[in-house]
């Protein structure tokens, strides 16, 4: 390799990003291929796109030194090449091998990105792929293309794939057309794209051959080889534009063209083409120079940015916000020192700064937001794959796909979401036979919906399956010794048991949901992004998992509190109200401290005790209670003092504090102090479990 280390490092990062994109797209395309495999009518463009994905991945992996990934992609590419060239046929076994191979590719690329690539699964996968390629080998027939009368010049420019598609079209009895269209150089890509889209509605675009425009430097001609069952008039009608010639190739060829009959005879010679000059004038009558300047720009206006850079930017914004607070404090000091005019001027400047900072903060935050729909696409693949494996029929319905969430949150909840959906199919949705017996529709329904609710985004996964059998949950909990025979247990308490580590209601651990990930891990992962998860269920009618998430993790407003001389930040989104409470207001129910708040009994948690701070047990005569709530749960957190609200930037506290209950990160205050940020969801969970 050449170039500086920096550029190579960047190139490898480019590889990882591109490889992930390719794999995502491949997964989507494979799902579509799985669907059309069932009907036996697959769009060749789709199969070719999948081949090209594997092909690109192989090339990339090879050149960046990830030979294991390249090896797997190479074998997939061979199978897909045989498929697109019609040498093998799609079978259910092949689909399942391809899905598994994609899963493995995804795992390898993720592994490569994290520096620990595990290649142990590749040999088995390669042998499965190769078995697939040889098992379904079709006998190869060679059908002469000579009857079409294509010149060698055209045949030589066709790839092996295009040749195959041409043959397939001929074999299926479709008519092959040569369509010549001329365009102006300034607009050809858009206009050709439009023409191709129109043609695709009535057949297959096999090849697009560019030729230098006849008679004018500003023009370009294209010969499109097109297969269709339509007659010549039908194809001309499809194209729906003047200035193109349509000629049917082959024995029955009748050289006519409704728009340009005289020019449609010899498509490959310059003289036969429609005048590019004439057409370009017609297409762009004015300002060709201005058009040229415009189209010289890139088509896409998107920029791909590493989220780490956005994090850095957000941190800087956060620090600027803190600097602003310091300036505000100085305004106060200047004023009290008697420089009132100066203080007013400084105060005005600080206000302008604040306004601009708010805009900046909002702008950076918006860049991080992506629609939940991107997550839904992944989930739809999981649904199709798992339901196919399980022999179940599932109709996935999505709502609110344009709801936006912080990219990092979406990343972090992908795996928990996947587990919830696997659970729905595995444990919830019944088999088609069972559903019919129960008088339900044969196809189960999973509804995936999201919506914004205040400062939160709520994502719900709802199925119409068999629901959770509460009696069975209690029985399992008894067997595991998690509860006693006579423990009073409400339905909600029983559902909470599902979130305990190692708890499973499944008698037979299946490959689908028995992968060592339980609902406890799901809850922990969601709590790690300050989210909450809840379950509702109705026997025989289905279950609903409700995930409540903050919109962003970046800059948040926090309530700064004090306990036994220590300062903490509490995300304001979790705070419902703060109240002053007398010690005599506290009652004890089942060894737990509660207070009466209007018409509800509010359980209390003493943070001093929770964090086992020395002196944390002492309660003054009157004290503050911060009422917090996430989803439907409420809790009163006992604190010594409320110090006010402030914008904070939550920073990770790293591996050392990982798993430390009740803390989600750290934040810098304006006065150079660093304080811990409370994980309210985590504290509520701990309190609900009764461990505090």
């Amino acid at each position: 390799m050449t170039g500086s280390n920096d550029s190579i490092g960047k190139a490898v990062r480019d590889f990882l990003a591109e490889a992930e994109e390719i794999i995502d797209q491949l997964n989507n395309d494979l799902v579509s291929m799985g669907d059309c495999a069932e009907t036996g009518d697959c769009n060749p463009d789709l199969i070719n796109a999948i081949f090209r994905g594997a092909h690109s991945l192989k090339g990339l992996a090879g050149i960046f030194g990830f030979s294991e990934i390249g090896d797997l992609a190479h074998n997939m590419e061979n199978l897909l090449d045989s498929l697109r060239l019609g040498r093998v046929e799609i079978t259910p076994v092949m689909m399942s091998v391809l899905f598994d191979a994609m899963d493995l590719l995804g795992a390898l690329v993720r592994g490569a990105g994290e520096g620990h690539l595990d290649a142990s699964g590749i040999p088995l996968m390669v042998s499965r792929i190769n078995a697939c390629a040889s098992a379904t080998q079709k006998s190869q027939e060679v059908s002469p293309l000579a009857t079409l009368g294509l010149t060698d010049a055209v045949l030589n420019a066709l790839t092996e794939y295009e040749e195959h598609r041409l043959l397939e079209n001929v074999k299926k009895g479709r008519l092959i057309y040569s369509i010549i269209a001329s365009f102006s150089l300034t607009t050809f890509d858009q206009e050709l794209g439009e023409l191709t889209d129109l043609l695709k509605q009535g057949g297959e675009v096999i090849s697009t051959l560019p030729t230098v425009g006849s008679g004018s430097e500003a023009g370009i001609d294209f010969e499109i080889l097109f297969g269709s069952t339509k007659g010549e008039d039908g194809v001309s009608g499809l194209a729906g534009r003047p200035g193109i010639s349509v000629r049917q190739l082959g024995a029955q060829s009748k050289p006519t063209s409704p728009s340009q009959p005289a020019q449609a005879l010899e498509p490959l010679t310059a003289s036969s083409s429609v005048s590019a000059h004439d057409h370009s004038e017609a297409a762009s009558p004015a300002q060709p120079a201005a058009d040229a300047a415009m189209t010289a720009k890139s088509m896409s206006r998107m920029v791909r940015v590493d989220i780490v850079k956005l994090d850095d930017l957000m941190n800087i914004v956060g620090e600027l916000v803190l600097s602003h607070s310091t300036i505000n404090e100085l305004v106060g000091k200047v004023r009290s020192s008697g420089f009132s005019t100066l203080a007013i001027e400084l105060g005005k400047a600080a206000k302008v700064l604040q306004r601009k900072l708010n805009e900046l903060q909002k702008g950076v935050m918006e860049i991080r937001m992506i629609p939940v729909g991107q997550l839904y696409e992944k989930m739809s693949r999981i649904v199709r794959k798992v339901s196919r494996e399980q022999g179940k029929k599932v109709d996935l319905r999505v709502f609110g796909a344009d709801t936006e969430l912080d990219k990092l949150i979406i990343e972090d909840i992908s795996d928990p979401m996947m587990h919830i959906i696997r659970n729905s199919i595995d444990h919830g949705i019944e088999t088609p036979e069972e559903r019919i017996r129960l008088g339900k529709e044969e196809k189960g329904v999973i509804r995936l919906s999201s919506f914004q609710k205040g400062n939160h985004v709520v994502i719900e996964v709802e199925d119409d399956g068999r629901g959770i059998d509460i009696a069975r949950v209690k029985k399992k909990a008894l067997e595991k010794g998690l509860i006693q025979e006579n423990d009073p247990l409400s339905e909600r308490d029983a559902l909470e048991l599902i979130f305990l580590p190692g708890f499973s209601t499944s008698d037979t651990v299946t490959d689908i949901s028995g992968r060592g990930v339980g609902m406890d891990v799901v809850r922990n992962n969601i709590a790690a992004v300050s989210g909450m998860v809840d379950i509702e269920t109705r026997p025989g009618q289905g279950s609903k998992v409700i995930i409540t998430l903050p919109i962003t993790l970046a800059i948040i407003k926090a309530l700064i509190i004090n306990i036994v001389g220590r300062t903490y930040a509490m995300p304001i989104t979790s705070v419902l109200e703060t109240i002053l409470v007398e010690r005599s207001d506290i009652r004890t129910i089942e060894r737990k401290e509660v207070i009466q708040l209007r018409d509800m009994t509010l359980p209390l948690v003493r943070l001093g005790r929770f964090f086992e701070i020395e002196g944390g047990d002492v309660l003054p005569e009157s004290f503050y209670v911060v009422v917090v709530g996430v989803a439907e749960k409420r809790l009163g957190i006992v604190v010594d003092d409320l110090l006010g609200q402030q914008d904070i930037v939550i920073k990770s506290i790293g591996e050392t504090f990982k798993g430390f209950k009740g803390i989600s990160g750290a934040a810098d205050l304006g006065d150079q102090r660093t304080i811990l940020v409370l994980d309210v969801g985590g504290i509520i969970s701990e309190a609900t479990r009764g461990s505090v």
Partner: protein
């Protein structure tokens, strides 16, 4: 400065080609992510050499090579194919259509540099 047009739909592969070429002095690079962009760039840039992949959507490398070789203006531009060994038959076609050289992915950057110097040095 000699200008090289890279036609390749993989941005990572383009990055690598660029870092390989930039290690040499005296070359300027124009990038095209597909055949369309290449066709649009050719008349706007005075290109001295084209490096193209074969497998690309819509307009593939072979079609691009045929276009360049049939054009009175560009027909003498040196043209390299960069492709994987799986498309052997397409590669042979590319050479038959008039490509000057080919490189198999994964290519050795030193080979590409040598070829560039041979044609443009």
């Amino acid at each position: 400065m000699k200008k090289i047009l890279i036609v390749e739909d993989s941005s990572a592969m383009r990055s690598l080609l660029i870092s390989t070429i930039e290690a040499l002095e005296g070359f300027e690079i124009v990038e095209a992510a597909n055949g369309f962009e290449a066709l649009r760039l050719l008349p706007r840039e005075r290109v001295d050499l084209v490096i193209t992949d074969i497998n690309m959507p819509d307009i593939n490398g072979l079609e691009l090579i045929r276009y360049v070789r049939n054009s009175a203006i560009y027909k003498s531009i040196p043209l390299f194919i960069i492709s994987t060994e799986s498309s052997e038959r397409d590669l042979a076609k590319g050479l038959a259509l008039g490509a000057n050289e080919y490189l198999i992915k994964p290519f050795d950057p030193a080979d590409l540099q040598k070829l560039l110097l041979k044609y443009l040095g």
